[in-house]
């Protein structure tokens, strides 16, 4: 009898712990023909503001050793067009949809969240207070404990949906931000967003990205992300959704053992959009081999003595 892969993020029950990370899976529909969206634990769609955003001029990405730096600039169609144009397809595909909520002000976060709360088929909200690569990317909220508490509390009042603030790794003590989010009523936290980074073209002496700086993601950051997830899981009672460089089932298992209840996969989906069933099979095989009957049994099951 195959192991139970279901996990709970607050009141949100996921059929498995594999979630597509925001900004790395478009609006989900782009991948419908290569991945059965209903087979994923959840899909976090691209960050959405109240209105459309154009994003930064290209070049928007640059590759780095075992990673990539991006400054897309949150190009997006805005919450209204998303609800009208994308949600019908996502519902039809049976996707569990989590929206990555952005805002340039607390009011905007609240407004976007309120709008989404009344939309059928939206399973949760991930609060993006950690996008490093635009001025209003939320990192001004995510790098200050008081503002983190303030924006999470404000959105909390505006929605009943499972609320998952997404934390930035660009801080001294990520666990205190996890606690601030918990105190403010978050149902879970997710981390890590990208690391603020920069690449210079030495021949032109110009930054590789039009935006000068961007966010580092991919396998390169995994060891730091695992450490941060471990710290946060030991600091809060609410579930932790871990991510950062996951590219194999072993990588996903590292995060689960470190204390993540579920994991997100971003950059690796660019490299291999067919990765999802392989990740799921790898986790299942591991649970069988180690005689676990539920994936939840290995959450935080790291042995440290």
């Amino acid at each position: 009898m195959s192991p139970d892969l279901g996990v709970c993020i607050g009141s949100l029950r996921l059929k498995n712990p594999l979630i597509a990370a925001s900004g790395c899976f478009g609006y989900g529909v782009e991948y419908a023909e290569v991945v059965d969206l209903a087979s994923l634990g959840a899909v976090v769609v691209k960050g959405l503001y109240l209105t459309e955003r154009e994003g930064h001029p290209p070049p928007r990405i640059v590759e780095t050793p075992s990673g990539m730096v991006n400054a897309i600039g949150l190009q997006g169609i805005g919450v209204h067009r998303f609800v009208d144009e994308k949600m019908p397809d996502l519902r039809r595909h049976g996707a569990t949809v989590i929206v990555n909520v952005c805002g340039s002000s607390i009011d905007e976060y609240v407004e976007v969240s309120r709008i989404l709360s009344d939309v059928e088929g939206i399973a949760g909200l991930e609060l993006n207070i950690s996008c490093p690569n635009i001025k209003e990317g939320g990192i001004q909220f995510g790098c200050n404990l008081a503002s983190t508490h303030e924006v999470v509390s404000a959105v909390r009042k505006a929605t009943r949906l499972p609320l998952i603030p997404k934390l930035t790794p660009n801080v001294t003590s990520v666990s205190s931000f996890a606690r601030a989010a918990e105190d403010a009523g978050a149902d879970a936290i997710s981390l890590v967003n990208t690391f603020l980074a920069m690449v210079i073209d030495v021949e032109t002496r110009r930054p590789r990205l039009s935006n000068v700086m961007g966010g580092l993601s991919g396998p390169a950051i995994r060891p730091i992300a695992v450490r941060m997830v471990y710290e946060c899981a030991n600091a809060v009672q609410i579930p932790v959704v871990g991510m950062g460089g996951i590219a194999s089932s072993q990588d996903a298992l590292e995060f689960l053992l470190a204390g993540a209840t579920a994991v997100q996969v971003g950059t690796a989906n660019f490299v291999d959009p067919f990765i999802w069933p392989r990740l799921l099979d790898g986790i299942t095989a591991y649970l069988d081999r180690h005689h676990f009957t539920r994936v939840s049994e290995i959450v935080g099951a790291i042995r440290v003595d």
């Binding site: 900004g23 790395c24 899976f25 478009g26 782009e30 991948y31 023909e33 290569v34 691209k46 154009e54 994003g55 001029p57 290209p58 070049p59 928007r60 990405i61 640059v62 590759e63 050793p65 075992s66 990673g67 990539m68 991006n70 897309i72 190009q75 991919g218 396998p219 390169a220 590219a247 950059t267 989906n269 660019f270 490299v271 291999d272 959009p273 067919f274």
Partner: protein, 272 residues
């Protein structure tokens, strides 16, 4: 459009044409069977995570078996960095994971029209398939083909054998007219009577594409450009590959060239 597949494709042959050009043929029947001219594949060039991202390549040829059935495809690669270096060094039997076919293909013509293909350097890549498809429909095809030196002009015999008229240009004047290929193109456009329905297809360096687009404007010809942007995923997931275009109501916005392209209507592109 059929859904893309990810083929773990064996290298059938790697033919080095020069110090930096090579043609790699891959064993990938499924993928080859459904590829249309102008589409591309995303190739993973390393087993590990460095380089991490796949590299986009136009499908160059469809390789056929004895019976004429599609057995695989080839790419024409120019070595410019680590990923193309690995492809240059590939040996028969090596496996590369190839994701595709991807992107919007060239639109084809009826014999009433004629096709002028403009290629700069490795921008030749998509035109073997396009020429084949157009010749199969008895469309008259001319290839305007520019390179740095005459050694950079590849597959000329192949095009000649398909009765594709060739107009060549080299920057060092060693073959064809000296200078950029857009010069003979301009001359041809100005002398071509408005009675002839000429469609332009171009692939190559951005400055060349810009010039072709403006010439198309000036001489009021239809034009399709295969644009090249950094591509993180090739599937519409990352928004890295954007091109600025004018939408229906004349507003400039960024569209993903892996979905709206790589082949795009030259008239709507806003050059940055």
């Amino acid at each position: 459009m059929p859904a893309p597949v990810d083929a773990s494709a064996r290298v059938l042959a790697n033919t080095r044409l020069s110090a930096d050009y090579n043609v790699v043929a891959f064993d990938a029947p499924e993928l080859a069977a459904v590829t249309q001219p102008g589409q591309f594949v995303m190739i993973r060039t390393a087993a590990g995570t460095d380089p991490l991202l796949r590299r986009p390549f136009s499908v160059f040829e469809v390789v056929r078996d004895g019976t004429g059935a599609p057995a695989g495809f080839s790419i024409l690669s120019k070595r410019v960095g680590p990923g193309t270096a690995r492809l240059y060094d590939a040996s028969a039997g090596d496996r590369f994971s190839c994701l595709g076919p991807l992107g919007r293909p060239f639109s084809l013509l009826s014999p009433a029209s004629e096709a002028w293909m403009i290629a700069g350097g490795v921008g030749l890549a998509p035109f073997v398939l396009l020429a084949d498809a157009l010749r199969a429909r008895d469309v008259g095809v001319t290839l305007f083909y520019g390179g740095r030196r005459s050694e950079d002009l590849l597959y000329l015999d192949w095009f000649a054998s398909r009765r594709v008229s060739l107009v060549l240009a080299t920057e060092d004047g060693s073959r064809g007219t000296a200078g950029l290929v857009t010069a003979p193109l301009e001359a041809a456009l100005s002398s071509a009577g408005s009675g002839r329905d000429v469609m332009l297809y171009a692939c190559g360096p951005e400055p060349m594409l810009k010039t072709v687009a403006s010439l198309a404007q000036r001489f009021d010809r239809r034009v399709e450009l295969s644009v090249e942007r950094m591509m993180g995923c090739g599937m519409g997931g990352c928004y890295s590959c954007v091109v600025r275009v004018l939408d229906e109501d004349g507003r400039a916005r960024y569209v993903r060239s892996c979905l709206a392209g790589p082949v795009m209507d030259g008239k709507v592109i806003v050059w940055e």
